[in-house]
């Protein structure tokens, strides 16, 4: 087992507070900031507060709030109390948020005032985002204002009790049956990844890092902990700015960011709508991207507009975090159309490409990619069968089945081929198509629903929903869109709805997805 450089992610912060106490640790979207000393002290108070409220090691604590300094203080505070944090998209439908908090039975939650209702009945509720002044009276019953929690005496779990096998966080992803599943990761999982990042990206205290991805997205692990380990500064990008390429471009330039990390979709939008020639990006030294295939057309465009940084394609599911990586040589020639490889395994991971009998396939042949190493996750929260089913033992190691089909090229490493199941990626988010079907079945006029995804040159993937209705009265497409807007996160809403009299079935009575995918009308391609 590879040894990690610390026993807990919060040790990074404590050590940087000693070495770089007066340097800026984190900058809020509103422009306010905290030094390492201040962030360390505030998170100590959060830890003291949680411990006093009875939080035990291993207890889960939810975070349902827009990105900001309170969230960063809460995360480090939870880790100092040996709790596990569970970040949830605060813009997701309330039912979905609540199902996540209930699934892992959070004992406490940090929640924004605007969505505080989702936390009703949870043992400890801390409300952030309250208006200035003593607004405590207007809080939900029993809730505690963030400002009040921050007045608590510092505390937390005993330093010596910290263990790399403690659960550090749970990230929920789309589940095939409509119930999100909690990918549970230990301190060791994250620490081994962050240590690898240190060795490849050589960051230091002068680096200024972007935090574009929300905390419930696994890209946030690099964002949060790599700067904390090296004394760099983290610039939090609000959701509102993050969705607007013109604002993102101006943000990167005006804050002289040196390290950018996001999904390819964000970089594509920057290249297309960011008006990049208006700004100076000479400080940017590293551009990292992960989460989905980067169409070469868009990659060429961004690397031409930003010629100086070094580009890395990072690959890995949430279950392993980044496990293979590839340096992208620039400039990219005009005639290249082939996507870039996902590259070679990171030094803390091992990779195996196997056939359906889990026997290794020869170099150049397609097979399923399995990963082992200290970053392979603990399991899915409360789903022991699924957790066991996705891994197998070989040569004394536990190997995780990524579900991704790859082939190995002797000079470039692994090349991503596709998937065999019904999971797709859109804007870096994993989507189980069955999750969308479950939502559609809740519409009272829909009798059957089958969702398929097709590749799209611009969007990466297009999601089409075939539906049949209970009677001749069909809901309007506007109605279906609005319904999905309420039932699902925005990135999961289908691009098109196609009404059918009935769905094609295979001989065993299952929906024939292949037939549906082949029958897509040209107007939707």
């Amino acid at each position: 087992m590879i040894e990690t450089s610390a026993a807990s992610l919060c040790t990074y912060l404590e050590s940087s507070a000693q070495r770089f106490g007066d340097r800026v640790a984190v900058v809020d979207p509103d422009g306010s900031s905290l030094t390492y000393r201040e962030l360390n002290e505030r998170s100590d108070r959060v830890a003291g507060f949680l411990t006093a409220r009875g939080l035990q090691p291993g207890d889960r604590v939810g975070l349902v709030q827009p990105k900001g300094i309170p969230g960063v203080c809460a995360i480090f505070g939870i880790l100092k109390a040996r709790g596990a944090y569970v970040p949830v998209d605060s813009t997701a439908p309330p039912q979905r948020i609540r199902s996540i908090l209930d699934n892992c039975r959070v004992r406490a939650v940090f929640v924004d005032l605007r969505c505080a209702d989702v936390a009703a009945g949870i043992e400890t509720v801390v409300v952030t985002g309250t208006p200035a002044g003593p607004a405590w009276q207007s809080l939900p019953q029993g809730a505690i204002a963030w400002e009040k929690a921050l007045k608590h005496a510092p505390g937390g779990a005993e330093f010596a009790s910290r263990h790399p096998d403690d659960v550090a966080y749970i990230l929920y992803t789309s589940g095939s049956t409509g119930i999100p599943k909690g990918v549970t990761l230990s301190q060791r999982n994250a620490l081994s990844f962050v240590d690898w990042c240190s060795s490849v990206f050589s960051p230091d205290e002068h680096d200024r890092f972007s935090s574009h991805a929300p905390f419930h997205f696994d890209l946030s692990i690099l964002d949060l902990y790599l700067p904390a380990k090296h004394g760099g500064t983290l610039y939090l990008i609000s959701e509102e700015v993050g969705k607007n390429p013109a604002k993102v471009a101006s943000f990167i330039a005006s804050n002289r960011l040196t390290v950018w990390y996001s999904t390819p979709s964000v970089l594509s939008l920057l290249a297309e709508f960011g008006d990049l020639k208006k700004y100076d990006f000479s400080h940017l030294r590293l551009v990292l991207f992960a989460g989905e295939v980067f169409p070469v057309k868009h990659m060429r465009s961004i690397t031409r507009q930003w010629p100086s940084p070094t580009y890395f394609n990072l690959y890995g599911p949430t279950e392993t975090n980044v496990c293979t990586y590839a340096l992208i040589p620039t400039p990219i020639s005009d005639d290249r159309t082939q996507p870039y490889p996902i590259g070679w395994p990171c030094s803390h991971c091992s990779a195996l490409v196997v056939d359906d009998n889990r026997e290794p396939v020869p170099v150049g042949e397609e097979g399923l990619l399995y990963i082992s190493g200290p970053s392979v996750f603990v399991g899915y929260w409360g789903r022991p069968e699924e957790s066991a089913g996705c891994c197998f033992e070989r040569d004394g190691s536990r190997w995780y089945n990524t579900g991704d089909v790859v082939k190995q090229d002797t000079s470039n490493g692994f090349i991503y081929v596709g998937r065999r199941d019904r999971m797709v990626k859109r804007r870096g988010y994993r989507i189980e198509l069955g999750d969308i079907e479950s939502a559609l079945y809740r519409h009272n006029q829909i009798r059957e629903a089958a969702v398929v995804a097709i590749p799209d040159a611009d969007a990466g993937v297009k999601i089409l929903a075939y539906v049949t209705t209970a009677d001749d009265a069909r809901p309007s497409i506007v109605d279906l869109k609005v319904f999905c807007g309420k039932a699902l996160p925005a990135y999961m809403s289908p691009d098109a709805f196609l009404f059918q009299d009935s769905l094609p079935r295979t001989s065993t009575g299952k929906v024939d997805y292949q037939k549906l995918a082949n029958a897509i009308p040209p107007s939707n391609r």
Binding site: P245, I477, V478, D495, F497, L498
Partner: protein, 86 residues
């Protein structure tokens, strides 16, 4: 004039975001952003279309729901931009 602008926007939205929908189901006051019909990426494409088609420049601060949630608001926004000072 404003009716023509509305029709062009309606047609664009129907083709891009609601393929297969009847024009009559997309009213001038149907919420677009707040309902989830058009997401943040879709908004960028809509603005790109409007800038090119109506020869106006949309600033980031103008792209909120006050101007871009309903066809009628988008059309009056475009008209205002086309006639500075009006």
């Amino acid at each position: 004039m404003v009716d023509q602008i509305k029709e062009e926007i309606r047609q664009y939205i129907l083709t891009e975001f609601l393929p297969g929908e009847k024009a009559s189901n997309l009213q001038d006051d149907t919420p677009l952003r707040t309902s989830g019909i058009i997401d943040s990426t879709g908004l960028l494409r809509l603005i790109d279309f409007i800038e090119g088609r109506f020869n106006i420049q949309v600033e980031a601060y103008e792209a909120g729901v006050e101007n871009f949630d309903r066809i009628q608001d988008i059309a009056s926004f475009i008209q205002k931009k086309q006639k500075p000072g009006a």
